[in-house]
Subunit: 286 residues, 2 copies
């Protein structure tokens, strides 16, 4: 049975519970991170820790423990659950003040809730989906205005994934004012004439840790990168497209709203970036 | 100690827990209702039950029990906790499928999570705040696009309440494209020349149960009601203003962004509507 972490304790998953008064449960007052594990080591841990601290700060919360201590909890969970390839999920909420109130509880008397668990995914790096590519549909982006904060307000992304599933696709790209923002749990890119185009960072999208690394690797490999808004029509006319996220790394997109990109196969840029990303990330894993 | 309800059990509040894999905790995949109690009886229970069913339906979820059974749970909690005046909070989530996945779990194998608890508020009806009136600030409305579904995605309303508190005010009114949408947990109204003006129902605002009742009572009392968008400037120039919600009933607003309305006291319409609402609601309570 999986061992998870809840507020200092390592517990069997069936015993892992939080109070019904936890603000994560009652009002989505919490943030999260997902860190991938390859070869039993953590990918981009520093990037996730830095973003976590930023998300917390934006919500007037503090890191519940030092980065080193957080790293140790991650490593202990990898060890206890024998994870070679998979993910570690981390969630921090404003805690359980004992009653429901829109006003934030005093952090001196209400401790944050800290939950971590592993998701074992053998074959994560050598994914068949990466060779085949994904099909996406477009949906309107109706999420709140602070998507740069990685909160647990994931209902609409979850609904978007279901809309994609019902349409026989793998995921949804969200569109606002005619421009693609991002996927339901990933950043979105198109490639046109060897140029990689992706939306610039703002409050409209998640500041992807994998995005930052992939763009750095792309530039180091002398690929041209343009950070700007792109329309859905531009995406459908692109040579290729792809997504990035901590758990999918780089994943080609071969179809948007039923329109095949290029010859309908993953193309050249996305598979190459996936290769570079996996190679470099494994080297830097901790 | 308060007795709460969790998935069929009546438990002391300290033992009331949900799995860390509950989708309410991990992705805000849940809806809620708050029903007031006056004289030990439930106010507008039917309205809340109907809206609950609608919220669930919009998220492809079903009522976890018949309305009568739900009423019995509410009544049992009132009895067990000796509530004369207060609220009953109800939350339903898509349950705990045992792992985290954006795809909805199969409802045949994953039962919804049903949580109810009381909040004892002696003096709820005879509130001193209602005699004094509230001061509100305005903030931008950056919530998601389906505010008609009463989901637990309450982080921004909670942040809004904190912004109000920091500004020395009681609550915040949210503004979108120049027009007031609603308060952080209530519907917003202004009164100009004896006309009651409030935003019409749409996906932009909560379909308040108290709102529906108050507008009905107002029309029955031959008051003029206009359902349309109003600007923040129009609100600041209004004769009076007020909010409605299940837990505040009708509450006068005497100041918006530091601007006093009328003579800075509750005015005539809001106190009268509060009186009518409380009287009629007590009569119809179950």
């Amino acid at each position: 049975m999986r061992i998870v972490y809840v507020n200092g304790d390592y517990l069997p998953e069936t015993e892992a519970k939080v109070s019904i008064f936890d603000r994560g449960f009652l009002m989505a007052d919490g943030v999260y991170e997902v860190t991938s594990v390859l070869g039993g080591k953590l990918i981009d841990f520093d990037g996730h820790a830095v973003r976590l601290e930023r998300s917390l700060r934006e919500l007037d919360m503090k890191m519940p423990m030092a980065k080193d201590a957080l790293l140790e909890v991650h490593r202990e969970l990898v060890r206890l659950n024998g994870i070679d390839e998979g993910m570690i999920y981390l969630q921090i909420t404003r805690g359980a003040p004992g009653d429901r109130d829109f006003v934030f509880p005093d952090p001196e008397t209400t401790a944050p809730t800290v939950v971590l668990f592993t998701q074992n995914k053998p074959g994560l790096a050598d994914s068949p989906a990466a060779k085949k590519g994904m099909r996406v549909i477009s949906i309107e982006d109706i999420r709140w205005g602070r998507r740069d904060i990685k909160t647990v307000q994931l209902l609409y992304p979850s609904m978007g994934k279901m809309m994609a599933k019902k349409a026989g696709a793998d995921d949804a790209w969200m569109v606002q004012d005619g421009f693609v923002t991002e996927g339901t749990s990933n950043n979105a890119y198109i490639v046109k004439g060897n140029k990689i185009i992706t939306r610039a960072l703002s409050n409209d999208i998640l500041h992807g840790i994998t995005r930052a690394a992939v763009l750095r690797f792309a530039r180091e490999a002398q690929m041209e990168v343009e950070e700007r808004n792109f329309t859905l029509d531009e995406a459908k006319a692109a040579d290729e497209a792809f997504i990035t996220s901590a758990s999918t790394f780089v994943m080609p997109v071969v179809e948007i709203d039923g329109v095949s990109l290029g010859d309908g196969t993953p193309g050249r840029v996305a598979p190459r970036l996936r290769e570079i990303y996996l190679e470099e990330s494994r080297k830097a894993a901790v």
